[in-house]
C-alpha cells in the first residue's frame, strides 16, 4: 500500500490555481499539543498543501548549554522530551561519558536500562492515549494514564521527581533501585499488560478505528530514509532499525527482545508498533531486573569522575534509541568545564519536517491522526 509520492517540495507547494481555503491550524488547537502550527490549503476537506511552522517553544537550550557546566546542563535535558525525560538524561550522560572515555559500572547500567524502558512505556502510553483522544475515543486515554501514574510513582521513589527526572549523573546513577520497586514491579507488570489489553480490545479491532487508521498517511521506506525518519516511524515503514540492536549501548546487546516492524507506514502500523514495543520493554525490564538481582548488593553505582568535568578537546556524537527514534547529542569540547557547542538531534524534528508530504492529499481528520501518531514533542522539536 506504500504509495509513491511525487517529489513536490512542500514549502513551494503546487501552483496557485483554484479557489483554496487557507486554514490555519494552531498553535492553540486541541490536536496541536500546545505549540505546533500547520498552515494548510484545503479544497473542501482535502488538504492541498500543508506547511508546518515551528519555533513556538524555542527556548534556546543549545545556547544555554554553552553557558552552563556539564553537570548543570543535565536538568535541561529533562525539558526536551518531557514525556520520557529519563531517556534524554541517559543519552546526555552517555555522550559526556563517551567524551570522557569512561564506562559506568554494570549496576548503574542496569538501573539506567530499567528506568529508560519504564520511561519508554510511559511515553508510548501517552502517545496511544492521545491518538485515541484525537480520533474521538477518549476512554482508553484514562486507562493508560492510570498506569503512567504508577510508573511515575517508581520514578518518584528512585530520584524524587515525576516528570522532569534528572536521573543519574555523569559517571553512574546516584541511588540504587528503591526497596519498594521489588514489591511493586511484579504487580505492575500485570497491570500494565491489563491496561494495554483493555486498550487493545477497545481500539485495535474496532471497525471505526481500523477505518480511520489503516492506509492513512502510508509512507514508503525509501522516502522515510531520505527524510531522515528514525524510531517507530521508520519501523512502521518496514525498515528494521533499532539503535538498541544496531549500535548497542549500555547492555542492550545482552538482552533478548524483538524489534517489531510494520509494512505500510500508516497510522495503524505506527500505533501497533508502539503497542508491541511496550510488551518488548516489559521483557527487557524483566531480564535487566534478573541480571540486577544477581549482582552483589554493594556493587558500585558510580564510576570515579572528577568533581569538575573537563573532557579533552574534541568532538563526539552519541545517539540512543529514545521512544521517538534516534536521539543524539553532539558535544564539542574545548577542554574547559563548559561544552563549547551542544547540538541535540531530536527524533521528531526529522519526521515532522516531512509532515507536508505525509498529509498531502489526505483529509483534515487524517492530518490530526497523522500528527498524533508522529508523537511530536514540542520541547525537543524546538529546543
Amino acid at each position: 500500500m506504500a504509495r509513491e509520492i511525487e517529489t513536490v517540495c512542500i514549502t513551494t507547494g503546487p501552483a496557485e490555481v483554484g479557489d483554496y481555503v487557507t486554514l490555519n491550524i494552531g498553535p492553540i488547537h486541541p490536536a496541536m499539543h500546545g505549540t505546533l502550527r500547520v498552515i494548510t490549503k484545503t479544497d473542501g476537506e482535502t488538504i492541498i498543501s500543508a506547511e508546518p511552522e515551528i519555533g513556538y517553544l524555542h527556548r534556546g537550550v543549545e545556547k544555554l548549554g554553552e553557558n552552563l557546566t556539564y553537570k548543570q546542563f543535565l536538568p535541561l535535558t529533562d525539558r526536551l522530551n518531557y514525556c520520557s525525560a529519563i531517556c534524554n538524561n541517559v543519552a546526555y550522560e552517555l555522550a559526556v561519558e563517551k567524551a570522557l572515555g569512561i564506562e559506568v559500572p554494570e549496576k548503574a547500567q542496569l538501573i539506567r536500562t530499567i528506568m529508560m524502558e519504564l520511561a519508554r512505556i510511559a511515553d508510548h502510553e501517552v502517545l496511544v492515549g492521545i491518538l485515541g483522544v484525537d480520533l474521538g475515543a477518549l476512554t482508553p486515554f484514562f486507562y493508560l494514564i492510570i498506569q503512567r501514574e504508577e510508573i511515575y510513582e517508581i520514578f518518584e521513589w528512585h530520584h524524587g521527581a515525576r516528570l522532569t527526572n534528572s536521573m543519574g549523573t555523569i559517571g553512574g546513577v546516584e541511588a540504587d533501585l528503591p526497596d519498594r520497586f521489588h514489591q511493586k514491579w511484579p504487580k505492575m507488570r500485570d497491570t500494565i499488560r491489563k491496561a494495554n489489553d483493555e486498550t487493545d480490545r477497545l481500539l485495535t479491532h474496532n471497525r471505526i478505528w481500523m477505518d480511520r487508521t489503516i492506509g492513512v498517511n502510508a509512507f514508503c521506506a525509501d522516502d522515510a530514509l531520505n527524510w531522515g525518519f528514525t524510531g517507530p516511524m521508520l519501523r512502521a515503514c518496514g525498515v528494521k532499525r533499532d539503535l538498541r540492536k544496531d549500535e548497542p549501548y549500555l547492555m542492550y546487546d545482552q538482552f533478548d527482545f524483538e524489534v517489531p516492524t510494520g509494512k505500510h507506514g500508516d497510522v495503524f502500523d505506527r500505533y501497533m508498533i508502539r503497542m508491541l514495543e511496550m510488551e518488548e520493554s516489559i521483557k527487557i525490564i524483566d531480564q535487566a531486573y534478573a541480571m540486577y538481582q544477581k549482582l552483589p548488593e554493594d556493587a558500585p553505582l558510580m564510576k570515579k569522575v572528577p568533581k569538575i568535568i573537563k573532557p579533552p578537546e574534541g568532538q563526539i556524537y552519541h545517539a540512543i534509541e529514545s521512544p521517538n527514534g534516534e536521539l543524539g547529542f553532539f558535544i564539542k569540547s574545548d577542554g574547559t568545564d563548559k561544552p563549547y557547542r551542544i547540538k541535540i538531534r531530536p527524533p521528531c524534528y526529522m519526521v515532522y519536517q516531512a509532515f507536508g508530504e505525509l498529509v498531502q492529499g489526505e483529509m483534515i481528520s487524517d492530518l490530526i491522526a497523522c500528527l498524533s501518531s508522529i508523537n511530536v514533542i514540542a520541547g525537543e522539536l524546538d529546543r
Binding site: H33, Y56, L57, H58
Partner: protein, 171 residues
C-alpha cells in the same frame, strides 16, 4: 425602601451575588493552554488519578469564547506572546488566569534570548503556581484557591453603585 438594604449589606443583591458566585465557582471551565512540560502535568490533573472535573472544571474546550479559566501551563516564548495576548483578549468576561510552573511565573531556568520572562508582564494573572513542573496536586490547589477568589468576588458591584448613586441623587 431601606437605604441600608442596598448599600452592601442588602439582602436581595447580596443573595443574587452569592448565587452568581456559587454558579461561577462551581463551573470554572478551563482553557488548557499547555505548551511544555507543565502541560503534561495539567493533563494528569485532568485525567483519572486527580480528576479536576470534580470541581466542575469539566468541559475542556479549546475555544477561548467558552472558557472561564486560562490555565497557562508551560514556557511562553517571545514568538508565542502575541498568540497568548490574543487568546486572552478573546475570552469573555469574567475570566481568570492561572500561571502553572516556573516558566510561566518567571521564565524559570530558561533565561535566554527567546523566552518571555514570566507571563505576568503580558496578561494579568490571578494565581501563580511554582514548581518545575508543579505536581497535579499543586494545580488542583491553585484551582481551589481560585474558587475561593471567585466566591469572594462582587459581580454586581457596578449595579449596586448605580442604585446607591440614584438614591443619593434622589435624596
Amino acid at each position: 425602601m431601606n437605604f441600608q438594604a442596598i448599600q452592601g449589606e442588602g439582602w436581595l443583591l447580596t443573595k443574587a451575588e452569592q448565587l452568581i458566585n456559587w454558579g461561577r465557582s462551581r463551573s470554572p471551565w478551563p482553557f488548557p493552554y499547555g505548551t511544555a512540560c507543565c502541560g503534561i502535568e495539567l493533563m494528569c490533573a485532568l485525567a483519572s488519578g486527580y480528576d479536576m472535573a470534580r470541581f466542575g472544571a469539566e468541559r475542556v474546550a479549546f475555544t477561548p469564547r467558552q472558557c472561564d479559566v486560562l490555565i497557562e501551563a508551560g514556557t511562553i516564548t517571545k514568538k508565542m506572546v502575541p498568540v497568548l495576548k490574543r487568546i486572552y483578549a478573546q475570552m469573555a468576561e469574567p475570566k481568570w488566569v492561572i500561571a502553572v510552573g516556573a516558566c510561566a511565573c518567571t521564565g524559570g531556568v530558561f533565561r535566554t534570548y527567546s523566552t518571555q520572562q514570566g507571563i505576568g508582564s503580558v496578561i494579568p494573572v490571578d494565581i501563580y503556581i511554582p514548581g518545575c513542573p508543579p505536581r497535579p496536586e499543586g494545580i488542583l490547589y491553585a484551582l481551589l484557591k481560585l474558587i475561593d477568589k471567585i466566591e469572594a468576588d462582587h459581580p454586581l458591584y457596578k449595579q449596586r453603585q448605580k442604585v446607591v448613586e440614584a438614591l443619593e441623587a434622589g435624596k
